[in-house]
C-alpha cells in the first residue's frame, strides 16, 4: 500500500500510484481528481471559489477553479502525465446552509461546480463521474492506480464513483 497524501483547503497535490490523495470535509468547495490512466499519475485539487478573474486578491492559485485546475494539470504534465489522456472525477459543491437571501454567496457551491466543469471542458478533460450538490460535507480519497474516487459523508454509506 502506498501513502495517502493530504490536500488542504485551497490546495492541490500530485501523486503517482500506489500513493493516493485525499481531502477531508469538502463543503461548498469542490474536489477535482484527475488521472492519467497510462502513467497512473493522479492529482487532487480542493478549490474554494469559481473565478480568479472576479477577485482582486487572487494570488493563491489553488483557491480558484480556473487557476487551480490549470495548475494541477501543469504539475501532472511536469511529472510525465499526458493531458490528452487525462480523465476527471469531481465531488463537493454542497449548499451547507439553507439561506433565503444573499443568493450569490449561497449558490457558491453550485457555481464552483459549474466553473469546474467549464474549465475541464476547456482543457478537454472528460468528467467520468461526479457526486456534487446536496447539503452535506464529503471526505474524498482518490486512487490513481484504479481511478477509484471514494466518498464518505456523515451518516451515509461510503461510495465509490
Amino acid at each position: 500500500m502506498g501513502e495517502i497524501i493530504k490536500v488542504g483547503m485551497a490546495d492541490l497535490k500530485v501523486c503517482v500510484s500506489p500513493d493516493a490523495v485525499t481531502t477531508l470535509g469538502l463543503g461548498s468547495c469542490v474536489g477535482i481528481a484527475i488521472r492519467d490512466p497510462v502513467t497512473k499519475i493522479g492529482g487532487l485539487a480542493h478549490i474554494m471559489l469559481p473565478d480568479s478573474t472576479q477577485i482582486r486578491n487572487n494570488s493563491n492559485i489553488p483557491k480558484f477553479a480556473d487557476t487551480g485546475i490549470a495548475e494541477l494539470v501543469r504539475q501532472m504534465v511536469a511529472k510525465g502525465a499526458k493531458q490528452s489522456r487525462m480523465v476527471a472525477k469531481i465531488a463537493g459543491g454542497a449548499q451547507m446552509f439553507s439561506f433565503q437571501n444573499k443568493s450569490e454567496m449561497v449558490r457558491v457551491g453550485e457555481r464552483n461546480v459549474e466553473a469546474t466543469k467549464k474549465k475541464l471542458a476547456q482543457l478537454k478533460i472528460p468528467i467520468l463521474a461526479q457526486d456534487t450538490g446536496d447539503s452535506y460535507g464529503r471526505t474524498v480519497i482518490f486512487y490513481p492506480e484504479t481511478g477509484d474516487f471514494i466518498i464518505k459523508a456523515v451518516g451515509k454509506v461510503q461510495k465509490t464513483i
Binding site: G8, M9, A10, D11, L24, G25, L26, G27, S28, C29, M48, L49, I55, N57, N60, K63, A94, M96, F97, S98, F99, Q100, N101, K102, M105, V108, S135, Y136, G137, R138, T139, V154, G155
Partner: protein
C-alpha cells in the same frame, strides 16, 4: 474609505475585536445561563487570525462533527455570523435545555429545533452587544443549522473570507457549566462593514 486588508490589521484593531468578542461572548453566556437556569462561566475569548486549514485543526480536525449555526446580518452593517459548537457540547446543551439526555447518535427534529434556538439566542445576544457598542443597527436574519464535518461547515465562512484573503478571523470562547463547552464565533462583516464598525468606535481605518 481606505481599503482594509485583513492581513495587515493593526494591533489596536485586534484589541478592539477581542474586546467586542469578550463583551459579545459575555452577553451570550448570560443568555445561556438564563436559558439553562444554571450558572455558566466563560473564559476570556481568544481572537485569532488563522489560515483556513488551521481553523479546522483547532476544532479537532476537518472530520470532527460540529453543529454550526449560520445567519445573515442586515442593517447598518451587512455580512454573516457563525457559531460553532462541538457535537458533544451541542448534545449536552440540548439535553440540558430539554431536561433529558438524548439517546442515539442523531439529533431528533425537536433537538435540532432546540439547538437552532440556542444558536439564535447566543448569536442574537452577541450581535446585540456589538450593536450597543457601535451604535449601529444590526439585525440578524433567520438562522440556519448544519451538523456535519468541521471542514464542510467551515467552508462557508472560509469562502466568504476567501474573497478577501487567505485567513479567517475566529473568536474562540469556552463556556463552562458542569462540563466545558467549546464554542467558536466567526464574524464575517462585508468589506465595507469593517470600516463602519471601526469608525463608529472612533478609529480611523487609514
Amino acid at each position: 474609505m481606505a481599503e482594509l486588508n485583513l492581513e495587515t490589521v493593526s494591533q489596536e484593531y485586534y484589541d478592539i475585536l477581542r474586546e467586542l468578542g469578550n463583551i459579545g461572548a459575555g452577553n451570550a453566556t448570560t443568555a445561556l445561563a438564563q436559558m439553562l437556569q444554571c450558572k455558566v462561566d466563560m473564559s476570556v475569548p481568544q481572537v485569532k487570525l488563522l489560515e483556513f486549514g488551521d481553523v479546522a485543526t483547532l476544532m479537532g480536525g476537518e472530520e470532527q462533527i460540529m453543529a454550526g449555526i449560520y445567519l445573515g446580518v442586515e442593517g447598518d452593517i451587512t455580512g454573516s455570523i457563525m457559531f460553532l459548537l462541538e457535537k458533544k457540547s451541542a448534545r449536552h446543551l440540548v439535553g440540558k435545555l430539554m431536561g433529558m439526555e438524548a439517546e442515539g447518535d442523531d439529533f431528533s427534529e425537536m433537538e435540532i429545533s432546540a439547538l437552532q434556538e440556542v444558536g439564535n439566542i447566543i448569536t442574537g445576544s452577541y450581535l446585540n452587544s456589538l450593536s450597543m457598542m457601535t451604535n449601529l443597527k444590526i439585525c440578524p436574519t433567520i438562522p440556519s443549522l448544519a451538523i456535519d464535518m468541521a471542514g464542510a461547515i467551515l467552508s462557508v465562512p472560509a469562502i466568504e473570507f476567501g474573497i478577501l484573503g487567505d485567513h479567517i478571523l475566529l473568536i474562540q470562547t469556552q463556556f463552562f457549566d458542569e462540563v466545558q463547552l467549546d464554542g467558536y464565533f466567526i464574524l464575517i462583516p462585508d468589506l465595507e462593514s469593517y470600516g463602519k464598525i471601526l469608525s463608529s468606535l472612533g478609529i480611523s481605518v487609514d
